[in-house]
Amino acid sequence: MSFVEVWNLIIANPVLNVLVALSHILGGSFGFAIIVLTVIVRLISWPLTKRQLKSSKAMQDMQPKIQELQKKYGKNQKKLQQEMMKLYREAGVNPLGCIWPMLIQFPIWIALYQSIMSALATTPESLLGLAHRLYSWDIVSQAIPLSSKFLWLDLGQPDPYFILAIIVGGTMWVQQKMIQAPSVDPRQQSTSRMMMLMMPLMFGFLTLMFPSGLALYWAVSNIIGIITQYFFTGGWGYLKFRSPFQSTQ
């Protein structure tokens, strides 16, 4: 069995069939099916998300100590890194813990992208090809062919009005800002500021290139992430809403 066959059997085809079945259950709306699938994926990955949030919360609590270390060893980066790692170790925190939920979602993104393109079957060949990937469930066969219309979107095409790109980029920025601790070190500050902008910009850009069905998944996933972070960490974290009239110190 080739890698592609294994991939289709274990990941791509189940995602495709669940999406099509959900679409039928939700009155033929493929957009709602993507939203519900996003919720399901977030529920499945909840143990990992929980670990990530715990880690973020612990990082927030450690901020006074980290800032103290930054003041103390600001000029000696090597020593600062060592001391910070020691602090993380003692607190049982993995500063890179937030990456794993994202990595876990990679196969889902790829499967979802493939499923959206297959399910919407924009060409006759892709519609015919779909016949060999669908399960023999009544609920699936009654949903085919799917309609790509959802709100103002054609789920098989990028959003022409850039609204989704702004939502994806904006929600990603908010989500990151909530957990990203400010640094005292100016060099670290500029690095984290760059990172903070780079990811939302990159995803906003990808939204302009990819079918809006995939971008819808990103947007909903980010919104769920913001909500869970808000309730789990008890507020907006490091995201501070500042009045434009407030002077910066």
Binding site: I99, Y113, P124, E125, S136, P145, M195
Partner: protein
């Protein structure tokens, strides 16, 4: 590590784009007229092959290049074809033979561009239907158009028939002065042949219809995505029968069935051919092919010819009584390297098959072998 993830993300996503690019390649079938084979190619040409010389008689490249799904329709001196870019072309055999620029109006040539009308696509995927003085065109904008066959003028256009999907990929069928159209959202609509207006009767099913309707003695037979063949009496709200009656078949009934002497012959993507009593929907016999059957069966005298995706030709003699597990009179392998998805035609003991790789195979039924084959690909 974090930077690595960021770097890998676009690569991973871009790789899944390239792996799943949806290309419209086209699967135009063959038509034979006066010893000449007409077919649309993968690279957007209409080609005429002379059977006696087994070589290309003429070729016309559609400008701008467009994929072709429709099988050419030959009517007198004109060859009609629809393109994925939404054009209908009427090509004159003589003008094309002389290699003149297109269209030569003095030869009766014309072209018609499907109006976009806020649609996502105007691609013509379903075969054109030529009847009387008109050509009927199903468009991916969800409408049916009637064109004057001689001049290409628009007679009428229908309303959008499939609002949910916004496209029509099945051809209409005619009975009397009515045009019947099946849709992906599970409707059969009746339209006036004269005006294109919707008539009172329509039929609605839970599942979408995959195939073009076939009409036999006031009953419409067509295949569905719910793995059934439907028989619908014109004027009725409920299906006369659905086949299979107990549990659905193994896959979609993508191809149109053929009805002959009160028996419906339906090929299925599950690789089976079913013979069904037209009146009752009872199964008479079935046959298991090697591969899924994408194209419709074709009748030639008393012979029923089926070609599966692997390019295996099955010939059934309908003059003999076939048992529950039917055995074909002949099974012929054409040795195609790629799948056969196009419709094919059969005439005077010969079957004309086209594979995805642009080869035409001419199969002699009596001899049980490929008589000759020709590639439509231009060698550089």
């Amino acid at each position: 590590m974090f930077l690595l993830v960021i770097a890998l993300l676009p690569l991973a996503l871009v790789s899944c784009i390239s792996g799943r690019a949806q290309l419209a390649k086209g699967w135009s079938g063959t038509a034979v007229h006066d010893g000449v084979i007409y077919v649309g190619t993968v690279d957007g040409r209409v080609v005429a092959i002379n059977s006696s010389t087994q070589s290309q008689q003429w070729s016309y490249s559609i400008d701008p290049p467009a994929t072709i799904y429709t099988t050419p329709v030959v009517d007198g001196d004109l060859v009609y074809i629809g393109t994925y870019s939404g054009q209908v072309l009427a090509l004159d055999k003589l003008a094309r033979n002389q290699g003149l620029s297109f269209p030569q109006t003095r030869y009766g040539e014309w072209e018609w561009d499907c109006p976009i009308q806020n649609a996502k696509s105007i691609a013509i995927v379903a075969d054109l239907l030529v009847s009387g003085d008109a050509i009927y065109v199903s468009s991916s904008n969800g409408r049916v158009y009637s064109l004057d066959k001689e001049y290409g003028d628009l007679n009428w256009e229908s309303k959008i028939l499939d609002k949910k999907h916004g496209k029509l990929w099945t051809s209409p069928a005619i009975q009397g002065d009515t045009l019947y159209v099946s849709t992906f959202d599970g409707h059969i609509y009746a339209l006036s042949l004269e005006t294109g207006e919707l008539l009172n009767w329509s039929f609605e099913s839970d599942a979408g219809f995959a195939s073009t309707p076939v009409i036999y003695e006031d009953i419409i037979y067509l295949g569905s995505f719910d793995r059934h063949i439907y028989a619908v009496k014109i004027g009725s709200d409920t299906p006369m029968w659905k086949f299979p009656q107990e549990k659905p078949a193994g896959n979609w009934f993508w191809a149109s069935p053929v009805v002959y002497e009160s028996i419906v012959y339906a090929s299925c993507l599950d690789g089976k051919l079913y013979a069904i009593e037209a009146e009752t929907g009872e199964k008479l016999w079935e046959f298991d092919a090697v591969a899924p059957v994408v194209s419709s069966p074709v009748l030639m005298d008393n012979l029923l010819i089926v070609v599966d995706e692997s390019g295996t030709v099955y010939v059934f003699d309908l003059s003999t009584e076939l048992e529950d597990e039917a055995v074909p009179l002949k099974t012929i392998l054409i040795g195609a390297d790629t799948a056969v998805k196009s419709s094919f035609c059969a005439q005077e003991g010969l079957v004309y098959i086209r594979d995805e790789d642009n080869w035409i195979y001419v199969v002699d039924i009596d001899k049980g072998e490929v008589n000759w084959k020709v590639s439509l690909t231009i060698e550089e």
